[in-house]
């Protein structure tokens, strides 16, 4: 932590001629009568990305965002202002705007985060400079060659490589100063294949909070290329998807997006404080089959959704959401935790200094069970084996959620058969989890590609699960 603080001071304060003393002066202007809580968040976010398309390194882009967001809370009211010019005058001006909310404030107690010194969950290294540009280019070109060599039906390859480095510094009204230095890398491959006039696509990718060498290790990037081609070729053979309710076996890893949509969002503190979630007021109730234990854990080393401290300076950790089917807890930021009288869980996240923090997921997954995945598939008389998904969405109030298949197969009498075309699955969060009848012993986390959107803010997240059998879910196919 002290190392992160040193880096944050060097990166954020020194170039602007600011010291901690200046920040504390700004905090004095932000707090005072009627303000129950406040924070000052300074962030520098650098992103470099490269795009290969059509065999050419077509685009390269670099962006730098730097700014400070100031928040003053009074009761249930929040005042917020931000600035992109880090001067004392601008920070004070933003503080005055933000604290204007407190005119009719009332006092309250602050929720206090988990204590303790922390070891960072990832190296502070800048992934943008972790490889020379030539090697980044060479990596993308190797992906292109590998994908094209994998099968003559490959017509188009698009590959991208992105590296980001984020430095944040948070000062709260109690004078606590926290910093985090976050690397993030991602590599994505998309291919188009063609056979007898039929075109299909396949995609794959991965990443995490590490440096770009990650993609060179264990031929990871080449693995994405081969996987994208394999998926596209499978889709060339895909038949119409049946429509209607059926048994669905979900593969391990990324299909954990089911949990993210079906239960995750509904267990975020803000919706529950306001009574807007289908899970509101149901702590202690059975909301899933006893086979299901679901956790959110922001403290997994190097994962895409991990944070050493969240964007409010609270250390992350494991939060049990559902234990053996019983709803245990919500994910909280400081604001909602205070109003609900519980401790923050390290889930306060924001897209940038220009956005207010919200309770958000980090890495959300379902713990492994007893069953061999083969045994789970063998138990299905007629159904669908869903291996990969494209994305999802939920209406937290009605509990209805959808997620889109990108690779799935028919299952008949325990045997995996023909692949089917992409289709949407739709269900009700609190209901669908009660229909989980078998849980595999093959827990896997996703490869590191997830991005979650809420209130117009995007943040990187992780998901995971073992093979799961859901007895009935509606499949949005076209075949009757």
């Amino acid at each position: 932590m002290s190392d992160n603080l040193r880096i944050a001071r060097q990166t954020l304060l020194e170039p602007a001629g600011l010291t901690e003393h200046h920040l504390r002066e700004v905090m004095e202007r932000l707090t005072g009568h009627g303000v129950d809580a406040a924070d000052l968040f300074i962030q520098r976010h650098r992103v470099e990305s490269w795009l290969l398309d059509d065999g050419l390194i077509k685009e390269g882009n670099f962006s730098l965002e730097l700014g400070a967001g100031l928040r003053a809370i009074s009761g249930e009211k929040t005042g917020f202002a931000y600035t992109e010019e880090l001067t004392s005058e601008n920070l004070v001006e933003a503080a005055v705007s933000a604290r204007a909310i407190a005119r009719a404030g009332r006092s309250g107690r602050l929720a206090v985060g988990r204590p303790g010194a922390l070891d960072p969950l990832y190296p502070p290294d800048d992934p943008i400079t972790s490889l020379p540009d030539e090697e980044k280019i060479e990596l993308l070109q190797t992906i292109d060659r590998t994908a094209r060599a994998a099968d003559p039906r490959v017509k188009q390859v698009t590959a991208s490589l992105a590296a980001a480095h984020e430095v944040v510094l948070v000062l709260d009204d109690q004078g606590r100063l926290a910093a985090d230095v976050r690397p993030l890398v991602r590599c994505s491959v998309q291919v188009i294949v063609e056979q007898k006039g039929r075109r299909e696509q396949g995609s794959a990718g991965g990443g995490g909070r590490t440096t770009l060498d990650f993609f060179l290790e264990e031929e990871r990037a080449l693995g994405y290329a081969r996987e994208a081609v394999r998926q596209a070729l499978v889709n060339l053979e895909a038949v119409e998807t049946p429509a209607g309710p059926m048994t669905v076996v979900l593969g391990p890893g990324w299909p954990g997006i089911l949990l993210h949509e079906a239960v995750g969002h509904g267990l975020e503190g803000d919706f529950n404080r306001k009574g807007l979630s289908a899970f509101s007021g149901r702590i202690g109730e059975q909301v899933a089959s006893p086979l299901c234990t679901v956790v959110d854990d922001g403290a997994l080393p190097g994962r895409r959704g991990s944070l050493t401290v969240d964007d409010e300076g609270t250390p992350t950790g494991e939060t049990v959401l559902i234990e053996k089917g019983i709803l245990r807890g919500y994910m909280q930021d400081r604001f909602n935790a205070r109003l609900m009288g519980v401790a923050p869980t390290g889930n306060g996240r924001r897209e940038s200094y220009a956005h207010l923090p919200l309770p958000r997921m980090t890495n959300t997954y379902l713990l492994g069970g007893d069953h061999d995945p083969e045994e789970i598939l063998r138990s299905v008389k007629k159904g669908l084996y869903a291996v990969n998904f494209a994305g999802g969405q939920v209406d937290i109030t009605s509990g209805k959620f959808v997620f889109s298949l990108s690779e799935a197969y028919l299952v008949e009498n325990g045997r995996v058969g023909a692949p089917v075309k992409g289709a949407t699955l739709i269900g009700n969060g609190p209901e669908v989890m009660t229909r989980v009848s078998m849980v595999g012993n093959d827990l896997a986390l996703d490869p590191g590609v997830g991005t979650c959107g809420k209130d117009g803010q995007s943040v990187p997240v992780g998901v995971g699960q073992p093979t799961l059998k859901v007895d009935e879910i509606t499949v949005g196919g076209t075949a009757l």
Partner: protein, 441 residues
């Protein structure tokens, strides 16, 4: 507002000069600054007051046919220099691409009309709060089954931007945008349903009355109470107007030059093909005064103009910027940055008439998820709406999917309604589609 158009113009000129100094053969740059206020009121109490102030610059440099881009939120002259340098170092690493470069100088907009896009709203936080409160209040009072709220949000923003390139083009203008939205929750027994409505305009005087927006949100939420699933079936489907823009966006995605030259579209080489019934006309008009998507020149400085993409059901034009046009051996359509003020003409029937014409089927009022495959046109999305029999709404429906293929759905478009009063930059009425698969129980 901190920076004037003139100051932004100076920054653009500085960026282009710096690019030239570093040896770039061509460059373009955009600089913008905006300021705004967003307030949310929930259950009558202020929830958030946000003061927004954004700025940014972006530059693209070309070394012959190699290109590099960089952007930053830091407008200081040091940052400006660093950003250009970074773009140049990136350009040295990218590939030689014969189509990379600025558009044909002939195509640059020369002079352009004032599109009346700037109507600042001097609104104090207190006044904003009052408007949001009136909006949410109307929703909460609408029906006793409205029991909760995500609040009403008023936001007002004014921005300025300038674009310039090394062909000598330099242009910019100020814009404003004001929005009011409301989301409320209805309850009946244990079941809750949320719904929303909003409006967004260039001028505050054009915004729908706060009470109307609130009541509309409440009316929609209440109408969904008691929703049930349907048995799986194949029936006609009406996409009510507010859900129809997504179908038009899928069309535009499929006829974008980028999707065409990459052969990653279900409408590959469809130019001149009859992709809709012969009465269908789909067009854009970038020059509508006060239009939400209006712009006199595109993101490359090319003059924009009204254009039919589909006429008599036949695809007339792809959506092209100069790069994709070059790849296809065509000419840019002035669509760098997208289409502007897209519209489909109505076939003349009211929504009631469409319901009668459908007789028995599903009226879709909400879509969920991303289930559209741009390469194959396969379409499968979560839906909510109403079951219709004998042309009359019977009951609300939820937890179903509607599925088909966009190519077939376009061909099976029976009618487009006159109910085009939806917020946003796309103008469309409800779409009646002859047949789709609805998956439920």
């Amino acid at each position: 507002m901190s920076l004037t158009i003139e100051q932004l113009e100076e920054r653009v000129a500085d960026l282009l000069a710096e690019a030239k100094r570093l040896g770039a053969s061509a460059a373009d740059a955009a600089v913008s600054a905006s300021a705004g206020l967003t307030v949310t009121v929930r259950l009558g109490e202020v929830e958030t007051v946000e003061h927004n102030r954004d700025q940014g610059l972006g530059v693209t440099v070309y070394f012959g046919h190699r290109k590099g881009s960089a952007s930053t939120t830091d407008l200081s002259s040091a940052a400006l220099k660093e950003t250009v340098a970074k773009a140049c170092s990136i350009a040295r690493a990218t590939s030689e691409d014969p189509c990379a470069g600025l558009p044909d100088p002939e195509l640059m907009a020369k002079d352009w009309p004032d599109l009346d896009l700037y109507h600042p709203w001097a609104l104090s936080p207190d006044e904003a709060i009052d408007i949001a409160r009136a909006c949410e209040g109307a929703a909460l009072e609408f029906d006793e089954r409205i029991t909760n709220s995500e609040g009403a949000t008023l936001s007002t923003e004014e921005g300025r931007f300038v674009y310039g390139n090394s062909l000598g083009f330099l242009g910019g203008y100020p814009t404003t945008r004001h929005s009011l939205s409301c989301v409320v929750t209805g309850r009946e027994g244990d079941a809750m349903q949320r719904d929303w409505w909003y409006d967004t305009r260039r001028a505050a005087e054009d915004l729908a009355a706060p009470e109307l927006i609130g009541r509309r949100a409440a009316e929609r939420a209440v109408a969904r109470l008691g929703a049930r699933k349907l048995a799986t079936c194949e029936v006609p489907v009406i996409f009510r107007a507010e859900t129809a823009p997504g179908l038009l966006r899928s069309l535009i995605g499929a006829i974008r030059g980028h999707a065409q030259y990459r052969e990653s579209t279900f409408l590959l080489n469809a130019l001149g093909e009859r992709i809709f019934p012969d009465w269908v006309r789909i067009h854009e008009d970038p020059l509508i005064p006060r239009g939400l998507a209006s712009a006199p020149f595109d993101n490359e400085g090319v003059a924009t103009r009204p254009r039919d993409f589909v006429r008599d059901g036949v695809l007339q034009d792809y959506v092209l910027d100069s790069y994709s046009a070059c790849r296809l051996g065509m000419r840019t359509t002035g669509n760098a940055g997208g289409v502007r003020n897209l519209a489909i003409d109505s076939s003349g029937q009211s929504l009631e008439a469409l319901l009668k014409q459908m007789d028995r089927g599903l009226l879709v009022t909400e879509l969920m998820g991303q289930g559209v495959n741009p390469v194959t046109g396969d379409y499968s999305r979560g839906a909510a709406g109403f079951w219709v029999e004998k042309g009359m709404i019977q009951h609300p429906v939820e937890e179903v999917t509607v599925a088909g293929n966009l190519r077939d759905m376009f061909q099976r478009l029976v009618a487009v309604g006159t109910d085009t009063a939806i917020p946003g930059s796309i103008r469309t009425g409800s779409w009646l589609i002859e047949r789709m698969t609805v998956a439920g129980n």
